[in-house]
């Protein structure tokens, strides 16, 4: 029994060690600095349409891909398994409707599985109908060979999460995880005195865009002399989030809550509300339920975003590519604004579902709000 216990403890420590050993990959000071600069940069491209804007202006010549309309756009999607992706996928469909050159959009949903997505891409290539392929990869390393294979046959556009190859026409994404982490943590640093207690809530380990949010946020908080009382994984579960916050509140005062994903922000707010505690400084995300709670309670808060308007951009990039017009490349970096007290009112819309993401860039589209579930 003793041996078994010892082995289990060793195994546990080994697992923990593994997590720590990986951490440096997600804490890259150069990338941190680059993204911090992007947050302050003035975007190029049409004003008021952040999904068409870009922060780096190196262009790629696409005349080699020029084809005659009509186009069949094929899209291999990692999944529609969370509300952010549901909003994004609606954005993409509505964007495609704005372009008469697109005769058809073929959508295959990998349901969050690498294997299925690799098979999906094979099927799309074998079908021979696609004019262009858009990929939102499920995971980076696993999808790289599939994307390379597709690049040999037709133009490919990657967005949201990346792959380890620069064969695609472009890789579309907002500033990134460090930027998200910085926006929230800097707001806390401005509003909480040094030495104040900050609780960090994370959704799950091991996803690059989330790990960089955490390391970026942590760096800013530590540099500001704040005391990080804990960093907990919530699994995106409201009940778990509320329980964790309640437990921390029993142990001592919390001056600020930082989150790497705001879907559970309202549950965290409620833990303070129900226990009758003073409201701390809050970092949420651009979900309607949080924005409305923020206004209702008059919180001191900020909502960084991973804007779902980025789902419109691949369609625009596809049209440009197929018409032989230049596109920003190898990366098309979109601006990544945060919602602040000053802009809060313009993003609140009680007619939209609670899990709707406000930075959808969809307000001016013909089927808004019905296509997104609004009234």
């Amino acid at each position: 029994m003793k041996n078994i216990l010892a082995m289990a403890v060793v195994a546990g420590l080994a697992l923990t060690g593994g997590t720590f050993a990986q951490a440096p990959n997600f804490d890259d000071p150069a990338e941190f600095a680059r993204q911090k600069e992007f947050l302050a940069a003035t975007p190029m491209g049409p004003e008021g349409k952040p999904w068409e804007q870009y922060l780096v202006d190196t262009m790629k010549d696409t005349t080699g891909f020029k084809k005659d309309a009509p186009y069949t756009v094929c899209f291999s999607n990692a999944g529609v398994n969370n509300p952010w992706r549901v909003v994004g996928w609606t954005n993409m469909q509505e964007e495609a409707k704005l372009h008469p050159e697109i005769s058809q959009i073929i959508h295959v949903d990998a349901e969050g599985s690498d294997d299925k997505q690799i098979a999906d891409i094979d099927d799309l290539l074998a079908g021979g109908k696609c004019s262009i392929l858009i990929v939102s990869p499920n995971t980076t390393a696993a999808l790289t060979p599939a994307v390379e294979k597709a690049c040999a046959v037709l133009p490919v556009i990657v967005f949201d999460r990346g792959v380890n190859t620069d064969c695609p026409v472009t890789f579309i994404h907002p500033v990134g995880g460090y930027g998200f982490g910085i926006q929230g943590a800097e707001f806390i640093a401005e509003n909480v005195k040094p030495g104040g207690n900050v609780l960090m809530l994370r959704i799950l380990p091991g996803v690059d865009v989330l790990e960089t949010r955490y390391s970026g946020g942590k760096r800013v908080l530590e540099e500001a002399g704040l005391n990080i009382v804990g960093a907990e994984f919530t699994d995106g579960d409201n009940a778990k989030t509320k329980s964790i916050v309640e437990d921390y509140l029993q142990r001592g005062k919390i001056d600020a809550v930082w989150m790497d994903a705001g879907a559970t922000a309202v549950a965290a707010v409620e833990a303070f509300e129900d226990g009758g505690y003073d409201m701390p400084v809050f970092v949420g995300e651009d979900q309607q339920d949080f924005l409305q709670k923020w206004k209702e309670l008059g919180l001191t808060a900020i909502a960084p975003a991973y804007p779902s308007y980025q789902w419109r951009t691949p369609i625009i990039a596809a049209i440009h590519t197929l018409k032989g017009e230049a596109v920003p490349s190898p990366e098309w970096i979109l601006p990544q604004p945060a919602i602040t007290q000053a802009t809060l009112d313009s993003y609140i819309n009680t007619a939209m579902p609670p899990l709707h993401y406000a930075l959808c860039g969809c307000e001016g589209m013909p089927n808004y709000p019905a296509a997104w579930g609004g009234k």
């Binding site: 997590t19 409620e270 579902p353």
Partner: protein, 325 residues
């Protein structure tokens, strides 16, 4: 004191279910970690959070004692929360009929589970696994992945509201009252009625029960319905506690089974008690809370959690071997 009395004492001692000792030990550990736990807000919050799992496990033990499993409860919870938010449509006046509809869905799900197990002879593990996948799909189809409404305050009353400023105990969460009421009801049904005896009989030996005149199929179906109804109640409490989310119920089916096993229920049926199962659920919640308070890194926590569970069940099995109960 005669020798006889000592023998009797020795025999009686292990007959107290070990889950109560484990629970007591964990609570002491929590108090040592965090003295604030002895304040009413500390333990009341704990009970409030444990209530949904306790109710779910108390329902699950009906199916387990009858010799089956119900894996569909987690996705039924999800369906209840997502479905309620869609039906409520932010209208507080709808609360009562929405709750009634949800219990109706619960009866339907339990009935189908039971009929499939009894008449199509599909093992309960497979039948309820299929139901789990189906219900998850239905919840997703209904909401399109993003539920379109909030849960109204009147709906959330059961899971969220606390009576405050009470004498002595200061606060009393409504969820605890719900747990007491449903817990007592399930206890009474299992241990004080003929139905409970028949459930035990068919789990122990369905053929013998059948020959003895127990309507095996009917009893089994009722067990599944009880389990589904408790899942609906759990869904209402969880939705109330934390609000709408799309994966609220995931993993709860295994936690409920674990709670029942911790409480000494036999996985092959024929044995199990509602109060011990509720204590098992409290134990599980106490483990989660303690690990929260200890502030260990996530992977270490999972290792500890797993070891405690295995150890607890090993103790239960050991005890059964040596006491024959």
């Amino acid at each position: 004191m005669t020798d006889n009395a000592i023998v009797t004492r020795k025999r009686q001692l292990p007959q107290i279910n070990p889950v109560y000792f484990i629970l007591a030990a964990l609570i002491v550990a929590i108090i040592l970690q965090n003295p604030a736990f002895v304040e009413p807000t500390g333990y009341m919050n704990f009970l409030k959070r444990a209530a949904p799992l306790a109710i779910l496990a108390a329902g699950q033990v009906y199916v387990i004692v009858s010799g089956g499993f119900d894996l569909s409860v987690g996705s039924l919870i999800t369906l209840v929360v997502v479905g309620s938010s869609m039906l409520l449509n932010n209208d507080p006046n709808s609360t009562w009929w929405v709750i009634a509809v949800m219990f109706g869905i619960g009866v339907g799900v339990g009935l189908i589970n039971g009929l499939v197990v009894c008449y199509l002879k599909v093992p309960s593990l497979i039948a309820t696994l299929g139901m789990m996948i189906t219900l998850n799909g239905l919840a997703f189809m209904w909401s399109g992945g993003a539920p379109r409404g909030y849960l109204t305050d009147s709906y959330r009353f059961f899971g969220r509201y606390n009576f405050t400023d009470l004498p002595l105990i200061r606060i009393l969460p409504v969820a605890i009252i719900v747990l007491l009421v449903i817990g007592f009801l399930l206890y009474w049904l299992m241990h004080r009625t003929n139905l409970g005896r028949m459930i035990h009989a068919i789990g122990d030996n369905p053929r013998a029960a059948n020959l003895a005149g127990v309507p095996v199929n009917r009893v089994r179906i009722i067990a599944f319905i009880v389990s589904s109804l408790s899942a609906v109640a759990t869904g209402i409490l969880l939705g109330g506690f934390a609000g709408v989310s799309t994966d609220v119920g995931s993993g709860y089916e295994l936690q409920a089974i674990t709670a029942a096993v911790l409480g000494g229920a036999l996985l092959l049926g024929g044995r199990g008690s509602v109060p011990a199962t509720i204590a098992g659920a409290l134990t599980l919640s106490a483990i989660f809370t303690l690990l929260n308070f200890l502030g260990l890194p996530q992977p270490v926590r999972q290792v500890v959690q797993g070891l405690i569970l295995i150890a607890a069940v090993a103790v239960a099995v050991y005890r059964r071997k040596h006491t024959g109960r």
